[in-house]
Symmetry: C2
Subunit: 366 residues, 2 copies
Amino acid sequence: MKFTEKDKSFMSIALKLAEKAKGTTFPNPAVGAVIVKDGTIVGKGATASGGVPHAEKIALDSAGNKAFNATMYVTLEPCDHFGKSPPCTNAIIAAGIKTVIVAVPDRNPLVSGRGIRRMKRNGIRVRAGLMQEQAYSLNEDFFWAVTMKTPWITLKLALTLDGRIADAHGDSQWITSPASRSFVHDVRRRHAAIAVGGATLRKDDPKLTVRHVNGPDPVRIVFSSNHRLPAASYFIRNADRARSIIVVAAGTNPNIGKCKNGVEVWHTGSRDPEKSLLSFLRMAYAEGITSILVEGGQKMASMFLEHRYVNRLYLFFGNKILGGGREAFSFKHVRALKKAIVLDRFETKVLNGDIMVTGIPVWKRR
Amino acid sequence: MKFTEKDKSFMSIALKLAEKAKGTTFPNPAVGAVIVKDGTIVGKGATASGGVPHAEKIALDSAGNKAFNATMYVTLEPCDHFGKSPPCTNAIIAAGIKTVIVAVPDRNPLVSGRGIRRMKRNGIRVRAGLMQEQAYSLNEDFFWAVTMKTPWITLKLALTLDGRIADAHGDSQWITSPASRSFVHDVRRRHAAIAVGGATLRKDDPKLTVRHVNGPDPVRIVFSSNHRLPAASYFIRNADRARSIIVVAAGTNPNIGKCKNGVEVWHTGSRDPEKSLLSFLRMAYAEGITSILVEGGQKMASMFLEHRYVNRLYLFFGNKILGGGREAFSFKHVRALKKAIVLDRFETKVLNGDIMVTGIPVWKRR
């Protein structure tokens, strides 16, 4: 099945629409749709903030009756079930769309293939697979979360060329360049939540907000040994700015409490680090948090990576060598070279003197 | 002063000739020369093995009387002094060359500017600076050594993404991919000598030869606490393959002895690590060793880098994470983040899944 250069250029526009919406549509995926008639775009749309309406619906509304006999380019297979909105397939069929070109089939068990079959049965010509890699990457977190019922975890660290995330005095500001830090804000805005350890909160007093780029503030999560965080911290002082959660490995059952200032305290129901982590992930998914960006330090990073809970790793190497200081990772069980963690879909990018490395850790089993 | 595209293409050919000769011309620089008449190459040459004859002489000989009124492209300013060979300026003037285009002026105090002035006084049109960055890089070791009277030191390490050069069992084979290792052999062949620590020799029994690429074997240097190395090691068994040196921080004066098998034992005259290192560098330069590639382990790497004796650093990051193991560097005095070592002329290259990083450490003083 061949696609033309024109097909690609329309799908690129749909992908850009989706890309722009990314981070605002949780727990739904970010989707883009473009409607083309006689070689001209007559309608377009992206998933709205909060996830509804869907991109297809917005594009159809903007096209009006020009949608009749037109072609729709959509980055994800249209849904065929009633959720927060009626099935997009209904609207597409009703509008008289002639051809639908889909980038990637949905992995959501409620959709996968059903949307495509339904449209075909109604006489629509459907073709799938155009630019599917980009479309898949854009919503890799959604596909994972909806299949595994656990949030997609991205781990991000800034480290020196000799693998240190802080010097011997704990100073880590700044290892990387402003270009890398802007890039990180773009990574942040793609996630439903940002998580740090209590030690990082106490030391760096991070804002855990999205800056430098446009986007809503993600949910803020702090892993702490207890629920008392410094009252003067940005996190506590700005508890109303975004949903704020303190996660404590304690209690006998998973439990969510709320403080007067609105901060939630999640007791995971276990003091065992691995059990507590797993319990937290289940709680987070149940609470609609489908993706979490974990931003160091060593303890958090090591815990998530060693226990195989990292779906994507971002390493930002600053052009610096310390000869000592705090290592990026310190596993309880250090891996032998032959059993090292390897990154799949390895990508690198030079950012104003820094090197960004990203990839998907390969886990043999989970 | 503008150069044409044709000028660039001829100088590129001269640079390629020099590049090919690199590693065979010690202690002389690797130079390439191309002679062009009426837009056609009529002669070319590169510095011969061992450093003489020079590139200019070989090119002139190959051009014969076609050199009259021709243009010479040469990657380094021609010499104007009697060394192992008579001045190239004499030969250029005698051949009736009309124009000389030089990539980079020589930094050798015996040459710098003299060659160019001499040719100009003899009616030759001389222009300098074409592709000078490439030409400079090609002989950066030579320019350094001849000015500072100490060898150019390149430090190379292969490390995991989390900054480890071996796992907890000391296993380091292999952190990087075959593509990186081939690249390292190309780096090796550009150096007059390769050095490792005694611990690495005992553990890995390295050959310290140039493989995968063509080139002569460099001088082999082992830093050891004493002159006894395992008789079964490749280094000792193949002592006749290349000049082989064991460096020991001992004695009261710098002293060179020779074993029956031909291996040299250098006593640096000091037990103090930093003094011993400086003494070794002076001895090496006096012995005609103008560049040394230092290949790990942690102790060697840290000693050379902490004491500011590294001119160029190569880091090869393999796509692996261990979560522990042996760190690349362990300084006696760990640097604060604000005083971190930074690399100038920072370059990166992706090598079949590995990342190569290279640059020139910036030293505020030495």
